[in-house]
């Protein structure tokens, strides 16, 4: 047995350190910020401010089975059960300051970027109001066109300048532009390694167990401005490349079906979902996650940085969203798609039906949809999920049989 650290161990260590350091920093009287998961991390990292990510924290609470008391606390404050469960967990946590996962310190200010959804704006407005703290808003207008128009780039860049000014005021320190350049380099490199590691799941069989993406994701959310993030994804890539060389897939029993998972995980039922899929030899190889943090730009190029943060899949027009997912299904050689109709996420749900209508004929791949929620366990039924997955397996098998027959019985891989 090798005593070399694995990427999974490194991931665990770094995440623990991330949460511990935030608590310690707060104790020492240092500034702590809360940030949305795909907001530009570059500014706070340059300033050396500890940043915690409520979406990641809520997901961890959900996965550890601790969502209900916090959801109920938020609902007791008047938050509707129809609102995003990440937001409800976090707004509940602000009251209780206790949860089943690592606790996080309250922020001295918050930074919000609405490239994922506008719900974040409302959620963060409420944090700012409740805690009476400053809010840095990076507003990234939705792209109805195929490109980020120059007018939007200019608007976003002006907000970068505004954010820097606010940070200088909050910290009482000058912004170090040389350090900023270095942080941009590290962040962009982290994103490149993340994307590369995730893309290795395109191999058949996939060396990556797709559900591991949900674990590794925490690092690209929380630490992409740090060298440790690059190291982890470099190591993960090496491990996966080694598996590919040895022809070893993630599933010992073999990978029978490959699917794309559309939407956020059902964190409270992650184990159940994984086991259900694995029992049929299904590996989730495709998702929108590899590109969610593919924030690729040349360090120092603020136009490109503005474009990168604005071009997140959720912020793009229907045509691009369809093309992107069609590409994932093809590139990752998926045999089927599972759509999570996530009760928490209107932006991802309300284009899903039209996407299904356009993606299915473009890929000739069957799909199912199930009702769930990212962290409200009350909005998911195990039996429905299992039945739907079974139906998908039948459809995928039928399709493979038909393909084999038409190819004269040649095994399709």
């Amino acid at each position: 047995m090798s005593d070399k650290i694995t990427s999974k161990q490194l991931l665990g260590q770094l995440l623990q350190k991330h949460y511990d350091e935030a608590l310690e920093a707060k104790k020492r009287g240092e500034l702590v910020a809360w940030s949305t998961s795909i907001a530009p991390n570059e500014f706070c990292e340059t300033m050396g401010i500890h940043v915690v990510y409520p979406e990641n924290h809520a997901a961890a609470i959900g996965a550890k089975g601790g969502a209900i008391p916090l959801l109920e606390t938020a609902e007791g404050l008047g938050y509707s059960v129809d609102l995003c469960s990440y937001a409800r967990i976090n707004l509940g946590y602000i009251k209780t300051l206790d949860c089943v996962a690592d606790n996080i310190p309250l922020p001295d200010f918050i930074i919000c970027c609405n490239n994922i959804c506008n719900t974040l704006i409302k959620w963060y407005e409420n944090i700012a109001a409740q805690l009476s703290i400053p809010m840095i808003m990076i507003d990234v207008p939705f792209n109805h066109e195929r490109q980020v128009t120059q007018a939007r780039v200019e608007y976003i860049k002006a907000q970068f300048t505004e954010a820097i000014g606010m940070l200088e005021k909050i910290t009482g320190k000058d912004f170090d532009y040389e350090r900023f350049y270095e942080v941009m380099r590290i962040s962009a490199e982290s994103c490149r390694y993340w994307k590369h590691a995730m893309s290795l799941a395109q191999q058949v069989p996939s060396p990556l167990n797709g559900f591991d993406i949900f674990n590794y994701m925490a690092l690209i959310v929380c630490m992409r401005g740090k060298q440790g993030c690059i190291d982890t994804f470099k190591l993960l890539s090496e491990e996966l490349e080694e598996s590919i060389r040895q022809g070893r897939g993630a599933f010992k029993e073999g990978e029978k079906h490959r699917i794309m998972w559309e939407g956020i995980a059902c964190w409270p039922y992650l184990g159940h979902n994984f086991k259900t899929l694995k029992s049929y030899g299904i590996n989730m190889v495709g998702s929108t996650y590899p590109d969610a943090w593919a924030l690729l730009y040349e360090p120092g190029d603020l136009d490109a940085m503005a474009r990168a943060y604005s071009s997140i899949v959720n912020n793009c027009c229907l045509e691009q969203q369809v093309e992107y997912r069609t590409g994932v299904i093809k590139d990752f050689r998926c045999d089927g798609t599972i759509y999570h109709l996530n009760r928490s996420c209107k932006i991802m749900d309300f284009l899903q039906y039209e996407q299904q209508r356009q993606i299915a004929p473009a890929t000739n791949v069957p799909f199912i949809s199930f009702d769930g929620d990212q962290t409200d366990p009350r909005n998911f039924a195990q039996a429905q999920f299992e039945t739907r997955v079974q139906a998908l397996v039948e459809m995928m098998e039928e399709q493979k049989k038909a393909a084999n027959n038409s190819q004269g019985g040649v095994e399709h891989v």
Binding site: K122, N126, T149, E354
Partner: protein
């Protein structure tokens, strides 16, 4: 028929058959008609082109087609709007403008292209960093895009002077609508909640100088009547909108006068004038920057609660009725914050869930009746 009834009829006419209103406008003026989805569109640009902007705010209808686009947890406003569009109700429109003020509306705009391709869609994304000069400049570019698309539809240029004139027409209309709100609070015996709503709603289906004139006539007519002491209670509505109309009849039944409102469908439209300035599109964009107290306009200061408290004191209201559009995230997020402020100030609050497509208002009846009794 009394003059008052005649005026009410004039307000009701364009609403009783919106499609007829559209075709009538086209026939008599030869102009085009552009639909404006919630919450805020730069109608002045459409008006400057000699076109009629009409409001598209859903309605009561049976849902049979829209479930192929939205699951059940989308608000009734967008469900009914897309349903009507899928049934061809908007086919006479030359285009629609869809602002992306919330996640749901972003998806409405994108779905529109697939669902109702026969009616061209012009997107609009307001900046949320509204106080920054860069935000105003960006919004100007959005309005510039709308101007060029509307020009293409109309086949003629829209000059700055045209827009400046239209801003004048709209600012006059805003002032008259604010006068009307004060009048409605003074004459609750005459201006019932339904009539109050009718006058707001009719503005979405009439050329604005005509509507201004009609409202001015109406104000004059009502002022001739002596104001009778109101025996009931006085409330303020807050939310996106207060429909269906049967809901408003309940307010009448239980003697609750609507003395002011903070509804996106009603007074929020008229809260601020377009300020003075040189460039008309910059003026329009600056109005968005000056606007406050709407769940769809970024406000880290959360001024809405304080604004509601001001309204209560100015209009001497006895309580606030929250008209919560079911499944409206922005409004649902605002609620706990302003509710706490209202509670601290001992202002009675009634929370009503709004579904435009409600078949029966009986459940709401019990709640409104209970609230009216509480206020006694």
């Amino acid at each position: 028929m009394s003059k008052f009834d005649q005026l009410i009829d004039s307000f009701r006419k364009p609403l009783s058959n919106p499609r007829g209103t559209v075709t009538e406008f086209k026939k008599t003026t030869g102009g085009k008609v552009v639909g404006c989805l919630p919450p805020y569109c730069p109608e002045e640009i459409i008006h400057a082109a000699g076109m009629l902007p009409v409001g598209i705010w859903g309605g009561q209808t049976h849902l049979s087609k829209v479930n192929t686009y939205f699951p059940a947890f989308a608000c009734s406003l967008v469900q009914t709007t897309l349903e009507l569009g899928l049934r061809g109700v908007y086919d006479d429109l030359d285009a629609v403008i869809i602002p992306s003020a919330c996640d749901t509306l972003k998806c409405v705009a994108q779905n529109w292209k697939a669902a109702i391709p026969q009616v061209p869609m012009i997107p609009l994304v307001h900046p949320q960093n509204r106080k920054l000069q860069a935000g105003i400049k960006y919004l100007q570019s959005e309005y510039e895009n709308i101007r060029s698309q509307v020009e293409r539809i109309g086949g003629k240029r829209i000059t700055d002077a045209d827009i400046t004139d239209s801003i004048g027409v709209y600012n006059r209309h805003r002032r008259v609508m604010r006068d009307f709100v004060l009048l409605a609070a003074t004459y609750p015996n005459v201006i019932t909640p339904s009539i109050r709503h009718l006058i707001f709603k009719s503005a979405y289906f009439m050329e604005k100088s005509k509507h201004t004139e009609l409202v001015q006539d109406f104000i004059r007519e009502v002022r001739q009547q002596s104001s009778i002491t109101w025996q009931g209670r006085r409330v303020i509505l807050t939310g996106i909108m207060a429909e269906p109309e049967s809901l408003l009849e309940l307010f009448n039944e239980y003697r609750l006068a609507i003395v002011d409102d903070d509804l996106a469908h009603e007074s929020r439209q008229y809260r601020v004038d377009v300020p003075d300035g040189n460039e008309p599109l910059e003026r329009l964009a600056t109005a968005w920057s000056n606007f406050e107290g709407c769940s769809l306009a970024f406000d880290p200061g959360k001024k809405r609660g304080a604004m509601l408290l001001d309204m209560v004191s100015t209009s001497q209201a006895d309580g606030i009725v929250v008209c919560m559009m079911k499944f409206c995230d922005p409004e649902e997020f605002d609620y706990p914050i302003y509710y706490e402020q209202l509670q601290t100030a001992n202002i009675p609050v009634l929370y009503l869930e709004i579904d435009q497509n409600l078949n029966s208002v009986e459940q709401l009846r019990t709640r409104i009746q209970g609230f009216a009794e509480l206020l006694k």
